[in-house]
Symmetry: C2
Subunit: 513 residues, 2 copies
């Protein structure tokens, strides 16, 4: 094509290679969406017998998507689209598409299709083993699958490469642009503050009584209340669902079909209530992604940490905050009059904010939560580099729980088997701690932009916060690296200080520190 | 490859081309299974907003599967595998694979990928319009989608070709090897018998009272009973599910993951009860397919008629039969003591077998059911050949209902809008009538093989029947053409006479004809 032909094309904003790329990515996107639907189904409604067939299907689909992404044709199209992309604003959708797709391509082209298929297959099979092992407190039954997962992850890391250590490769999958040492530095900055807070709170842990949360709470009413709360936050049920699963999660097939799940316990109110807010936070992120990014690699959340910032923000900064309960407590109390009729709002607020070292990560309070993550992070690195054997991991887990939290898991079901993550691979935990940290940074910035957020919450209005998040985070999908997106949204780099400030202020007040 | 090289390969039972074919079909099968999961999800749990994205994903996946099936490589592999296949027993799995895959290939290679994608996309979008139009009794809103569906079907027929008339192409999709005229001949043979029976029964229609079916029946109890019944028939819930949908259906992703749905009405007992048996009949077909056929084009039911024979056999021949109720009525009565306590078994048996021309096909009795199909068949042919305009179809529908059944639909919701089928294409109805006909043929043969089937049913034992169906029908999947499979199972060609005998005997007794 003559230069001026190309110029015309660039001027008109279209480009042949880019158009072909988009068509290719629309196809890859359809396969990936199908994979996500199959994954959701596997966790919600698939009959037990379906696991083996599903494993084969998911392996084949993962391989197919990977083949398309890493094909010579995709590589050539990316190359051909670079000039056009360079002529555009780097923040434009098209320039971002080429940049992010090239990054994905460069990593994935190094991974054999067969390894991708094997990881997908193993994940389905491991999950059904985990589910069973967890319910029977039988880590040895699950151990061979952890072994296999570790081995597959090692091979993956060697394929994609890493700047300093193999675990970097896994970190880069969930936190693009970050390294193991960068995560560790943030954790090292945060840890002493948490240890200090826990140390100060522990002696007076009984000053807050949360037994009211363990009264009788009808599950159907819990579900109704959960739906009411998250609908008011802005989770759109016309473009979303809420189902029940063993392990709560969120998944999205596109911005208009987002699914969240939760679990109920009639003797524990906050698990489902706060869990639903948490997953809805994830869901609103996906529902807020720009429709212009649909069917491209730019759709979806940018990182595990950014995703988790959304869930933790709604669950904790909003959902465990006083302003929200000033608005909503009368409704909750009316729904559970038998159990909450004699509980006044401040007492309830203190109960849901009780700090107490506990065994289950997803039910941990805001102060101890990140400690759960930090020791998982250590264990995963040790598993990957071989310094910790799979069979020694339950003992190491329990040792870490003792060291970090001062308690000991009575069995593996509430210890090493509690989380689903090692069915899908290593390297999935650090995002949960980064999420708290980022949430605090976003919270400060949103608050600066809208100083009256607390008053809005007291009136049951959450639109300004959601709009701020939509504008600054959600709509951009994967366009920018997480660090750049955070910088654009807050003007700052990643820092645990806002989270430390938030915790010290809130829990200083609750525990009169 | 030298001839003796090929011979060795044939002797060892393996063949390179065949192995590559199987790998290709495993991939196509994964895509098709994903399409099926997405379809199930669309009908059960997809939020309303998800339709547009789902349509795009399904279009892309359908195109992808079609591309793989019709690629030059698949064509070459098929060609290369023919010699090997010719050296095998034609009834072997491998010879059947090559034969059936070649048949699929020869048809599909004539269809452009883009048309396949457009049909898939249209189907999802049309369905959400239909759902809405049906609930609002608004045929004009749905009409443009019928128009589009008719147009796409015309293009499809012209692509794949036909022996006598365009509709043959559609018949061949659902009833491989059959033509429009062959279907018509069977219908022409059956119709006078049905008209005669209806004519004799109509004057004494009030001799059977089915008002007891319209008493109060708690939906949760209905569901529990439905599950109990079909589990006893042999529907395996470890490899299957039962959910609720607007329009009941069955779908399978593999023999170990089969899904059925039903709908409940607390004032109409038999809809869900018989509907659940019906869908479980479909489900048991899929659950019984040989595992050796997994991930090949041979898995799945062989035709719409054969599939429907399984559902109608369990729903009607078993589920509306006296032996079954001798066994099960006490359980049903105990579950609904308020509504059935004063109803003795014979009265209930007569109620669920009341013959009365009615508007809704899926709730029609055994005698009038096929008449519903016959007029839909006529209308579809007329729509396809253009002799009937889409806008004139509601009037034509109502005219046909008057002509065939002597009643008039009061609105389109219970008329032309009742069935989901025209969202997915034309040519889907004849199988329902063929199903009744085939069911009667299988019923006679199974009965000959096991003369004590009625006594077994009275004891709640259904294993011998299921085993006979597994052995003679289910396990073979798509290996043989429907006519051949029927011949193998019953020693006879397709014939409505067993169905006529069955109806005359059963309803002669109930109505003392």
């Amino acid at each position: 094509m003559p230069p001026n032909g190309r110029k015309t094309s660039a001027m008109s904003g279209s480009n042949d290679a880019l158009d072909h790329l988009k068509a290719t990515f629309a196809e890859i996107s359809a396969i990936n969406n199908a994979i996500a639907v199959l994954g959701w189904d596997q966790n919600t409604y698939m009959p037990p017998g379906g696991a083996a067939g599903r494993a084969e299907d998911l392996a084949a689909l993962a391989k197919l998507a990977h083949e398309r992404l890493t094909s010579r044709r995709t590589g050539d199209l990316l190359k051909a689209a670079q000039d056009h992309a360079a002529s555009l604003d780097p923040a434009s959708d098209d320039a971002s598409l080429v940049r992010v797709a090239q990054r994905d391509y460069d990593r994935e082209v190094k991974v054999p299709d067969a390894l991708v298929a094997e990881i997908a297959r193993t994940s389905v099979l491991a999950e059904s083993v985990w589910r069973d092992a967890r319910s029977r407190n039988d880590y040895p039954a699950f151990a061979p699958w952890v072994e296999k997962t570790v081995d597959l992850n090692r091979r993956l890391c060697e394929c994609v490469g890493y700047p300093e250590q193999p675990f970097d490769a896994l970190v880069d999958y969930t936190e693009p642009g970050m390294t193991t040492n960068a995560v560790r530095a943030v954790f090292d900055e945060l840890r002493p503050h948490l240890v200090d807070l826990v140390g100060k709170i522990t002696p007076q842990v009984d000053n807050v009584d949360d037994t009211v949360l363990h009264r009788q709470y009808d599950e159907a009413t819990q579900e109704r209340i959960g739906r009411e709360v998250v609908a008011r936050f802005g989770y759109d049920f016309n473009r979303g669902r809420l189902d029940r699963t063993t392990h709560p999660f969120e998944t999205a097939f596109n911005r208009d079909d987002v699914r969240i799940t939760t679990r109920y316990d009639s003797r524990f109110l906050s698990m489902a209530l706060m869990g639903t807010m948490h997953e809805a936070g994830h869901g609103m992120y996906e529902q807020g992604i720009s429709p212009a990014l649909a069917q491209t690699p730019l759709t979806g959340g940018v990182s595990s940490g950014m995703h988790e910032s959304q869930s933790r923000l709604w669950e904790n900064f909003v959902g465990r905050g006083m302003p929200f309960w000033r608005f909503f407590y009368p409704t909750l109390q009316a729904a559970f009059l038998d159990s909450l009729g004699d509980v006044e709002m401040h007492q309830f607020y203190r109960a849901i904010n009780k700090v107490c070292p506990s065994l289950i990560r997803v039910e941990a309070d805001e102060v101890t939560y990140c400690l759960h993550i930090m020791f998982r992070f250590d264990l995963e690195i040790a598993l990957l580099d071989g310094s910790l054997a799979v069979n020694d991991t339950p003992a190491a887990w329990n040792e870490k729980v003792r060291g970090y939290l001062g308690i000991t898991p009575p069995n593996d079901t509430v210890g090493i088997l509690q989380d689903i993550h090692w069915t899908t691979g290593l390297g999935g935990f650090q995002g949960y701690a980064l999420g708290n940290i980022i949430a605090a940074q976003l919270w400060e910035s949103a608050h600066q932009a809208h100083p009256d957020l607390p008053e809005q919450f007291e009136r049951g209005e959450f639109g300004a916060l959601l709009h701020w998040l939509n504008t600054n985070i959600h709509q951009h999908g994967r366009k920018f690296l997480p660090a750049d997106l955070l910088q654009r949204a807050t003007g700052s780099a990643l820092s645990p200080q806002p989270y430390v400030r938030y915790l010290r202020r809130k829990y200083g007040e609750i525990y009169s520190l």
